[in-house]
């Protein structure tokens, strides 16, 4: 029974990780830019959920509808206004630039919200589901389902919509995409917008489970990194596979080795994958 519980925990965690990583992976894959602000976008999304609940009484699922366009706009503007100026620069420059932006954003949140943890406590609480010895908190299950749903929506946009196809086309062959009449800078900004929207929405969901603090941005970002490398870059299925893999590994690892080793495990896995299989579990072919 313990085994089932561990796997269940791993799946819940894995879906959330997939949602965290999907947008990050999209930006990395399409723009070849690592957005170090991703973690802070997530935390900002959590604050949005917290604020909306405190001030307006909006439940997180309602806030999602608010967060998606807000964060899309934020991401679009940041890319068009700032990042696009150095889009062709070496890795060091884009990486350091997003780090600088992240410092600003994170510091702003620290000033605005202080470092102490806040919690979004739903009233009445959702309680837990139990089946025999299995216990699952309802909020986690709901967050997991929404995370899956969001990831699916992103997947559908990329697969089915005109703009989504253009994003994928730019990722696969930028010059051929230009021949199809695609405006590449617009697509870059759009992809970045989607990445930010995914981060914001993930943050809203995470607010239901985890305490909120600017300090969490680093760990969230770390998860996104690991998931991307494990699953393979730039694809939604890669993010899902990587996320579930990481969730299960962490869940099993914390039982076998103790919870304090979970982070070590995931980063060790990252290094091993980088060296042995840099294209991730799904290989480099994945795209959507």
């Amino acid at each position: 029974m313990l085994g089932v519980q561990v796997i269940l925990n791993g799946l819940v965690l894995g879906c959330l990780y997939a949602c965290i990583a999907a947008g990050f992976s999209l930006v990395w894959g399409v723009l070849n830019v690592i957005n170090l602000m991703h973690g802070s976008f997530i935390v900002l999304g959590s604050y949005l959920a917290w604020g909306a609940y405190q001030a307006l009484g909006l439940g997180p699922w309602t806030t999602l509808l608010l967060a998606a366009p807000l964060f899309f706009g934020l991401g679009y503007a940041v890319q068009r206004g700032i990042l696009n100026r150095v889009i062709a620069a070496p890795v060091l420059v884009t990486l350091t630039l997003t780090f600088g932006l992240d410092l600003m954003l994170n510091n702003a949140m620290l000033v605005a919200f202080k470092a102490d943890y806040r919690r979004l406590i739903l009233d009445p609480p959702l309680g837990t589901w139990s089946m025999g010895e299995l216990v699952v908190p309802v909020d986690r299950v709901i967050a997991m389902l929404f995370a899956l749903l969001l990831t699916l929506v992103l997947y559908a946009i990329l697969r089915r919509s005109r703009v989504g196809r253009a994003i994928v086309a730019v990722r696969l062959d930028r010059e051929a995409a230009r021949l199809m009449g695609v405006d590449v800078p617009v697509i870059y900004a759009t992809a970045f917008g989607f990445g930010a929207a995914m981060a914001g929405c993930a943050g809203v969901l995470l607010a239901m489970i985890f305490p909120i603090s600017p300090i969490s941005s680093g760990p969230y970002l770390g998860k996104a990194f690991v998931v991307c490398v494990l699953g393979g870059l730039g694809s939604v299925p890669g993010a899902v596979v990587g996320g579930l893999f990481l969730g299960l590994i962490e869940s099993v690892g914390s039982i076998v080795l103790g919870p304090e080793h979970a982070v070590t495990l995931s980063f060790s896995l990252l290094i091993v994958f980088l060296i042995v299989r840099p294209h991730g579990l799904l290989g480099k072919r994945g795209f959507e």
Binding site: W28, N32, I34, I82, R85, V86, I87, A88, A89, P90, V91, L92, V93, L95, T96, L97, F99, G100, L101, D102, L103, M104, L105, N106, N107, A108, L110, V111, G218, G222, F225, V229, E260, H261, V263, T264, F267, S268, L270, I271, L274, I275, P278
Partner: protein, 321 residues
């Protein structure tokens, strides 16, 4: 042969700066000593990072890993009553060998992947340090006994560590300068410019890159030992701080990529700015730092030095696409 164009003149300027820095203890102020020690430490980081990041062009985020590794190595050895000199030598040697071996695999990665890989090393080391609490004290941190016998005054100890850090910087700067003018430095510049072409003319790129990685680590690790002995208390979150990985890059960018002299100047300038921001905007110091980074990258892609060199035709060439 100057593979990277650092003129003898700017090298002399740097030496003069180092000598001027050595005058700080004579001010007799504890504050000046503290700032001076930090200036030396930052400069060691920036000048060292320059070997892998500036010469070889690999975006390493491993400085925090080296620093933390050195600090804990030193802390543990000092705790076991080894002398400071022994601790410094052992930590430096271990860091060099580890970086060399690790570099052999890690440096097969390029661009973002190398950056992430090097960043992850620090994370893994930090978590390992956190969990190996028998040895390291874990998250509780590690207390380090006085390493300097015989200096009973606080100022005396501060002076000692200033000189120690200064000497380390001097050693580091001269070494890196020697690397720059050596065959190794020349090969690294070739690798940065075009790795496959470098391979084709007979540069053993794997070996050279790994050596660069090792040299970018050895002095930082030794500075880590000195830091640990100086502050008497370290904890994993402190010495493996990701900021230690990023600050040297900012300093090197500030001074202009690829030149040890620039890195030295960049480190001093950075510390000055940081100190100013700390004093005046404690609440938003990291935000201001971020703002500086953004402005620097967007408007001064070739560093402060490029301001003085009346805008050469090259400065606009690489800027924005």
């Amino acid at each position: 042969m100057s593979a990277v164009r650092t003129t003898p003149r700017s090298f002399r300027i740097a030496l003069v700066l180092l000598v001027l820095l050595a005058g700080l203890p004579f001010l007799g102020s504890a504050y000046a000593l503290r700032i001076g020690t930090f200036a030396c430490m930052y400069a060691i980081m920036a000048v060292s990072w320059n070997v892998i990041g500036g010469f070889a062009g690999y975006p390493s985020f491993a400085t925090a890993a080296f620093f933390g590794f050195g600090a804990y190595c030193g802390g543990i050895l000092l705790g076991k009553s080894w002398t400071l000199l022994a601790a410094v030598s052992i930590a430096g040697g271990a860091a060099f060998v580890a970086a060399l071996l690790f570099g052999m695999v890690l440096l097969r990665l390029r661009g973002h992947y190398f950056a992430i890989g090097s960043l992850a090393v620090a994370e893994v080391l930090r978590e390992l340090t956190n969990t190996a609490s028998n040895l390291t004290g874990g998250g509780m941190g590690l207390n380090i006994p006085l390493a300097v016998k015989g200096s009973d005054s606080v100022l005396g100890e501060a002076t000692f560590f200033f000189w120690a850090m200064w000497a380390m910087l001097f050693l580091c700067f001269i070494s890196v300068r020697l690397i720059q003018t050596s065959k190794l430095g020349f090969g690294l510049v070739c690798i940065k410019q075009n790795e496959s072409a470098a391979d084709m003319i007979g540069v053993n790129a794997t070996l050279y890159k790994s050596l660069a990685f090792a040299f970018s680590g050895v002095f930082v690790a030794m500075a880590g030992v000195l830091y640990a002995a100086w502050v008497h208390y370290i904890e994993p979150g402190d010495v493996f701080d990701v900021l230690f990985a990023v600050k040297p890059i900012v300093m090197a960018l500030l001074g202009g990529l690829g030149s040890p002299v620039g890195a030295l100047l960049g480190a001093f300038a950075f510390l000055g700015i940081e100190e100013l921001v700390w004093r005046n905007y404690l609440q938003i110091h990291s935000g201001v730092l971020g703002f500086l980074v953004v402005v620097l990258l967007l408007f001064l892609p070739h560093g402060l030095m490029s301001l003085t060199q009346s805008l050469r035709s090259r400065s606009g060439r690489k800027a924005v696409a």
